[in-house]
């Protein structure tokens, strides 16, 4: 599940926060993996940190959830270039980078998640 939070003013954030942009607590969750998104911008990183695939193509994408925009960042599944404006869909990946290879404590966070696949 690619969980986003929705707040009383209708705004949605990914990830969710205890208090939303309007200063209120969330009232609902939304699974963004059920939606497609548009590429806002992208880059291919060739200087990846320990435990990360190289090259690592990343994209910032924007979902349209019933008229409410919500953005997310993630890798591109193919590792190939995409273009601004391309449509992508989230694809589940069990392990996005190698836990423990980098500085962050392996148990401190989840390592699975979603990459984006061009539609």
């Amino acid at each position: 599940m690619m969980e986003a939070y929705q707040y009383p003013d209708g705004s949605i954030t990914y990830p969710g926060h205890p208090i939303g942009p309007g200063g209120e607590e969330p009232v609902d969750t939304i699974d963004l993996s059920e939606y497609t998104a548009e590429v806002i911008t992208w880059t291919t990183s060739t200087a990846a940190p320990p435990g990360v695939r190289e090259p690592n193509t990343l994209a910032v994408v924007e979902f349209d959830v019933d008229g409410e925009p919500v953005r997310a960042i993630g890798g591109v599944t193919t590792g190939e270039e995409v273009e601004i404006g391309d449509e992508v869909r989230p694809v589940y990946i069990e392990e996005l980078r190698e836990p423990g290879a980098g500085i962050r404590e392996p148990d401190s966070q989840e390592w699975d998640g979603y990459r984006f696949e061009p539609v």
Binding site: T41, T43, A47, N56, R97, G102, Q109, G113, R115
Partner: protein
């Protein structure tokens, strides 16, 4: 509230240094005491700007260690961590300590020791500031720069070459900075043909990994007059934050922390962007110089690249930006960088910048933490 003055400044050689973080802090700290003509027992507050001595070196408690090494006890001390803007945050804390009346003499020393780590290791230490949803994708600060640069070039129809010209300019400026890590010019062709790091940005669009330290001495203007006739005033300093999660920003090409922190500083100093004669900006990546020069109000949104193309930000231009060579040429020892920016403006306003000297009565330093997550803007003027 009394005016806050800077009466002394120092910086070490930036680059790959043999010493460790405490050695670097001591080197800059003793040099600043000497430059200001202040005895260690006169120091009321001692702040240390540093992002990650524990992570890089396994050395914590450095604020107490340097207080001891400089014989500054029983001065109040604290380590200031605001990631890459730790130096600027130190300036703000030092300024507040004097402006509030809590301290009549405050020493600020910033330092970072980084080059003993490999580039991937250092990149990961810095990337550990990211949100878990960013970190697990291998997002790094350079990749934020690549994402933003592509959007900026696309949105404002700016040529890729304009980013390269920031690197060329700042390397040219750094030739005359004896403390800079790189004191050599690079041509545009070299920049544009260097290896890709985060497409469309290449190696020469990025600052290096650096060891170094810098220090400043703050006091009320009335106390400054007891030590010297020549000092620099700090009429405004502002700090602000933007989202921790970078992709949540509605317009990624606007750094709200820069806008908000400079608004605070301008209002405090009763100044406008047009009043600034010289600026040191946080060019950790070339794209950041465009964004800051626009969000500080120097140029219209989307036109910062044109100012670089027209040579307006050269040392001889109408608004010299990064006469020190910037982070790009001078280097970026995280906790020291914001202090070294103010050091450069201090030297410019004191007329002590030698071959780097520009004609300036006022100056601005903008220090950026993360990818604009935390920002400190400092305004200065000659007395």
């Amino acid at each position: 509230m009394e005016n806050v003055a800077i009466i002394g400044a120092s910086m070490t050689q930036f680059g790959q240094r043999d010493g460790w973080v405490l050695d670097l802090l001591s080197e800059a700290g003793t040099a600043c005491l000497d430059d200001a003509g202040v005895s260690p027992d006169a120091i009321d507050h001692l702040y240390v700007s540093n992002m990650a001595s524990g992570e890089f070196e396994g050395q914590t408690g450095i604020m107490n260690a340097i207080a001891h090494d400089l014989a500054a006890m029983p001065a109040y001390t604290a380590r200031i961590d605001q990631t890459s803007s730790s130096g600027g945050a130190g300036v703000k804390h030092a300024w507040q300590s004097v402006a509030s009346g809590a301290s009549e003499m405050t020493l600020l020393v910033g330092a970072e020791k980084m080059t003993h780590r490999t580039t991937p290791e250092a990149t990961d230490v810095i990337a550990s500031i990211t949100h878990p949803v960013e970190y697990k994708h291998g997002v790094t600060l350079p990749s934020f720069a690549g994402l933003t640069a592509r959007l900026y070039l696309d949105t404002y129809d700016a040529p890729r070459e304009s980013l390269g010209k920031v690197a060329v300019k700042n390397h040219r400026h750094g030739v005359h900075n004896p403390h800079a890590q790189f004191q050599k010019e690079v041509d545009l062709e070299t920049v544009l043909e260097s290896p890709i790091v985060a497409d469309p940005l290449r190696l020469y669009d990025f600052c290096p990994i650096t060891d170094g330290s810098a220090a400043l001495m703050f006091c009320p203007e009335s106390v400054a007059k007891e030590y010297t006739d020549d000092y620099v005033l700090v009429p405004g300093v502002g700090g602000a934050t933007d989202t921790h999660v970078v992709h949540e920003r509605t317009d990624p090409t606007t750094m709200r922390g820069v806008v908000e922190s400079s608004d605070i500083a301008y209002e405090m100093a009763d100044m406008e962007p047009a009043d600034v004669d010289v600026a040191e900006l946080h060019d950790m990546f070339t794209i950041l110089e465009f964004l800051q020069s626009e969000d500080l109000g120097f140029f219209e949104k989307g036109e910062g690249w044109q100012a670089v193309e027209e040579g307006r930000t050269e040392r001889g231009g109408d608004l010299p930006i990064n006469p020190s060579g910037g982070l790009k040429s001078k280097g970026h020892p995280l906790g020291a960088s914001g202090v070294a920016q103010v050091y450069e403006i201090y030297k410019q306003l004191m007329g002590e910048a030698d071959k780097r000297q520009v004609d300036a009565d006022t100056g601005l330093a903008c220090n950026v933490g993360g990818f604009g997550n935390c920002v400190i803007t400092t305004l200065m003027e000659a007395n």
